[in-house]
């Protein structure tokens, strides 16, 4: 790779990083388009209706047309909002979504940059989303948005705990925070989901809450708060939030796949070093489809029941799990 990239005036490592960032942006937009289409089509099918059908064959171009519509809309800034914060909120939500994709290993050779503390980097960056939601709710000068933002902050902060505790269980086994190291520790079919299924379930539930997805989607509760913290945003601001949500879902599912489902490992393919990314994407999309499936089946959890569930059920189980893992490893 370095022989190809040696242009003489730019170090090849820098070119490689720029290329990785561009790929990350492409993945963000591609994922938003694919996920948006899949979500609407599957939502329709779960409800025995066809979903988008008009634009293109079976509605494939629906998201493209929606993007054009959203970009063309007038950006209404309500009168008494905090102008700077109102314009900043979608950007703060969307920009950190691209960074974790540089760190995630899609296959043995396809990774932007492998940090030794890659896992902590991703968690730190995803936590900025909470700040963005709070800014959005506050600057909208709308009581509904403020309620939605307050709920979201409490929910996100509370569910960080079981997430981190289950992560710690995995880290105790692998001994490294580097994402590549975690995947390589599961090579040969010894995926951690078989070792720690309870941790997988707790982690998956925590990621559902972190990404504000049903049944934990109170911040965007449509039937109570008419779109929650996103009520006052229109046009491009709304679509930035929307894409940020889908990107965070992708990142959360990639983390789950890396930690528990063996990353890129799967039956061997030709050019295995690059094409095992296909197995990675297949597993990530299987988890994303499960997230969509859960969203369209269950009603919403009430706010205090949500926090109850976290503190009384998830946290004790993850603490016990951590203890048991530590004891078993010592033996």
């Amino acid at each position: 790779m370095s022989a190809v990239m040696n242009t003489g005036f730019l170090p090849p490592e820098l070119l490689r990083i720029i290329f990785a960032v561009v790929c990350a942006i492409v993945i963000v937009f591609g994922n938003a388009v694919v996920m948006g289409y899949l979500e609407r089509k599957l939502a329709g099918r779960f409800q025995r209706r066809p979903g988008p059908m008009e634009v293109g064959f079976h509605g494939i171009l629906q998201l493209a047309v929606d993007g054009v519509k959203l970009v063309g809309k007038q950006l209404i800034v309500p009168k008494q909002t905090d102008k700077v914060l109102y314009r900043l909120a979608p950007i703060i939500s969307f920009a950190p979504a691209i960074m974790p994709l540089v760190v995630i290993p899609f296959s043995p050779k396809l990774q932007g940059r492998d940090f030794d503390v890659g896992l902590i980097f991703i968690l730190a960056v995803v936590a900025i989303n909470v700040l963005a939601i709070l800014i959005a709710g506050w600057s909208s000068n709308n009581k509904y948005s403020l309620l939605g933002a307050m709920r979201s902050v409490a929910q996100n902060v509370a569910y960080e705990i079981p997430m981190l505790l289950t992560l710690l269980s995995v880290i105790l086994v692998t001994g490294t925070f580097s994402l590549r190291g975690i995947v390589e520790a599961q090579s040969g079919g010894a995926w951690f989901i078989f070792l720690m299924p309870v941790a997988f379930l707790i982690f998956f539930a925590a990621t559902l809450a972190e990404t504000n997805r049903a049944p934990f989607d109170l911040p965007e509760a449509e039937s109570e708060l008419t779109a929650g913290f996103m009520t006052e945003f229109s046009g491009m601001g709304f679509s930035l939030f929307f894409m940020a949500e889908y990107t965070y879902m992708f990142i959360a599912c990639s983390l789950t796949v890396i930690l528990f489902l063996g990353g890129w490992s799967g039956p061997p393919l030709p050019y295995g070093e690059y094409t095992s990314a296909l197995w990675f994407f297949a597993k990530v999309y299987a988890l994303l489809l499960t997230m969509i499936w859960i969203r369209w089946t269950f009603p919403r959890v009430r706010f205090d029941q949500l926090l109850n569930f976290c503190w009384k059920y998830l946290v004790p189980f993850s603490l016990v799990h951590l203890l048991v893992t530590a004891v078993v490893l010592k033996l």
Partner: protein, 148 residues
Amino acid sequence: MKEYFALIFTGGKSLIVGMMITLRELFRPVVTVQYPREKLPISPNYRGHTILIRDDEKPLKHRCISCKMCERECPSNCIDLAGEKREGVKGMVLIKYRLDFTKCSLCGTCVEICPTDALDFSNEYQHVGFSREDFHYDLLAMVEEEEK
């Protein structure tokens, strides 16, 4: 303590059962009929707007005698008709019958009260127009046009 674990168990099972149901519904055919590309057959008893029944045995091709009972009894005041007396013809001749469909509530009073059974409901359900006047139907013109 026992309820704690019992709740986890029953709760988790109910969630899985619910997800299985939606999964099963995912693979069943779609209920939606993609109108206007596919259309469903309309029952003959469906109440579209009223029409004058075409009766080829009558000289005027319809049975209306301009008694104005439908106009009087209509609860929504949407019928406007007029008749005139012509030379050599027994009874009144209908010259205008306008139905303002924007006000009609499809109650059926005019259909039932007509002494000569001149009115009936049509099966028309596709009403499209650009202005209110598009829905002021001229029933006399419709029954005279029906011949062609």
